[in-house]
């Protein structure tokens, strides 16, 4: 999309009420003026938010001093290379690895799952955890479900772990938990983030109240918002309003989907199966409590306990690759934009990704590559 068509898209704003959009943007403009600072930076942590912002060209109609950054909101992108390596090794060792499609191209230390497949490893794409279980019922082999995604998606993995899966089914969890990484970003020495926009449908499960502790600890407001362009605008307006008032709180701007408590049945299953553990998020940092790992009671479905996965041996024979130049980490921390990366659109493209942010449809780089991101109008 060229900047001109993006701008046309923004003017058209295919929501049902352009008048309301205009009202919101002018309200946002005056709120930003009232805040008075040269720059106001807020962060969202959801691939769908970035898709909506980029697709509808929202950055072209936002106040110039308001910077809306995409943080670590792409679970595929923050999957650490050793986690990919574990799946690659299991596939090369003759087990069938079932995983979500956008994990296929994610680079590991030596290779992606797609490359492992080319070398004879068994890898199968599934759309849901339930399909991975069905696969195990049909297969004589061991089926390992390489499970990625934030808490919303981990709920589905928890459900199949609880539903008595067949003995040849196990889970390699790369699930991540969002609230702790928000703390990491808030505590980064160069952080500019003054507020967070939290993802609507994730909060459908976790509930808006989940963020209260974060707000208390860090004094940074959190607004839960939907993914429609109008929802995003309304969320941003409320967020800047809270910043102006200087009284940080949690606000739910998506009450038609999100309650304070969330989905209790789903949360109960999630925490019966998973516990949090510290771990590396690719390119970002070690995130205390950032990984969701299977509890001891679910050792029988935990691939890490069922199989010996010798990463050390694997790494000794694997030269590192172009990924060293990749700045995905800085992009996800909100310190750089995709266009700051020397690889962006050149060595790193959706069909030949170097960094994970170019792999997933939720990755900032892939979204900017498709929609143009932040045109300079």
């Amino acid at each position: 999309m060229t900047p001109a068509t993006l701008a046309a898209e923004a003017r058209k704003l295919r929501f049902r009420d352009p008048g309301k959009a205009r009202d919101l943007t002018s309200r946002l403009e005056s709120l930003c003026e009232e805040v008075g600072r040269e720059r106001i930076s807020v962060m969202h942590v959801c691939g769908s938010h970035e898709q909506s912002i980029a697709k509808y060209g929202l950055r072209t109609i936002l106040p110039r001093r308001l910077d809306v950054i995409m943080g670590p909101g792409c679970p595929v992108c923050v999957t650490d290379m050793p986690e990919v390596d574990e799946a690659v090794l299991l596939a090369l060792d003759g087990h069938l690895v079932a995983t979500y499609g956008d994990m296929l191209k994610v680079p590991g230390t030596a290779m992606s799952l797609e490359e492992a497949q080319a070398r004879g490893g068994a890898v199968e794409v599934v759309y849901s955890a339930a399909q991975a279980v069905e696969l195990a019922r049909r297969e004589p082999r061991e089926v390992v479900f390489f499970a990625s995604g934030f808490e919303t998606t981990a709920v589905a993995t928890a459900a199949v772990a609880l539903a008595d899966p067949p003995a040849n089914f196990s889970i390699l969890s790369a699930h991540k938990y969002i609230p702790p990484v928000m703390e990491i970003v808030a505590e980064m020495p160069h952080t500019r983030v003054e507020g967070f926009l939290a993802a609507g449908h994730a909060a459908t499960i976790t509930g808006a109240r989940l963020f209260e502790r974060f707000v208390e600890r860090h004094g940074i407001p959190v607004v839960v918002a939907g993914f429609e362009p109008l929802d995003v605008l309304a969320g941003l307006t409320r967020l800047v309003e809270i910043i102006r008032d200087g009284t940080p709180c949690v606000a739910n701007m998506y009450p038609r989907c999100v309650t304070d408590e969330g989905n209790r049945n789903a949360l109960d299953q999630l925490w019966r199966v998973f516990r949090t553990e510290g771990g590396q998020w690719r390119g970002i940092a070690h995130v205390p409590n950032g990984n969701l790992r299977l509890r001891d009671a679910f050792a029988h479905v935990d691939a890490r306990r069922r199989f010996t996965i010798d990463l050390e041996r694997f790494w000794q024979s694997s030269p590192p690759r172009l990924t060293q130049l990749c700045i995905c980490g800085d992009i996800m921390a909100g310190l750089s934009a995709p266009t700051d990366c020397t690889l962006f659109g050149r060595e790193c493209r959706p069909e030949a990704p170097v960094g994970a942010c170019m792999v997933s449809s939720e990755g900032t780089c892939k979204i900017w590559h498709q929609y143009g991101g932040h045109p300079d109008l």
Binding site: L104, Q131, T204, N263, Q269
Partner: protein, 113 residues
């Protein structure tokens, strides 16, 4: 992905429901939803699991919103994500009424969480 996809429950059998997503019938799991659902209800599906029952007053608006998204010409990330969510809802059952179903092919999309 965080969008999910709405669909109408056709039938319920234990923890499995047959759900109509814009003319495509698929099986959705009911393990994690926190309310009982019955045929005629609308649910939001995420990676093959119903995560929420959509209240009556919001159904028309929600469907209109997704129909706009799915009517998008060519390849579009958000529309592809919604199609992926429909794929995630288990095995495809017999086709239902014509509608958007015809445009819901996989179209080279890669599934994502």
């Amino acid at each position: 992905m965080c969008l999910g996809v709405p669909g109408q429950v056709v039938s319920v059998d234990g923890l499995t429901a047959v759900v109509d997503f814009f003319g495509v019938r698929r099986e959705t799991r009911l393990d994690v939803i926190d309310e009982a659902v019955a045929p005629g209800d609308y649910i939001l599906n995420h990676v093959g699991f119903a995560i929420r029952r959509i209240p009556g007053g919001e159904i028309a608006e929600t469907l209109a919103l997704y129909e706009t998204l799915l009517a998008e010409a060519g390849s579009d990330m958000m529309a592809d994500d919604v199609r992926g969510e429909i794929e995630a809802a288990g095995a495809r059952l017999e086709p239902t009424a014509p509608g958007l179903g015809g445009s819901l092919g996989r179209g080279g999309r890669e599934a994502g969480p």
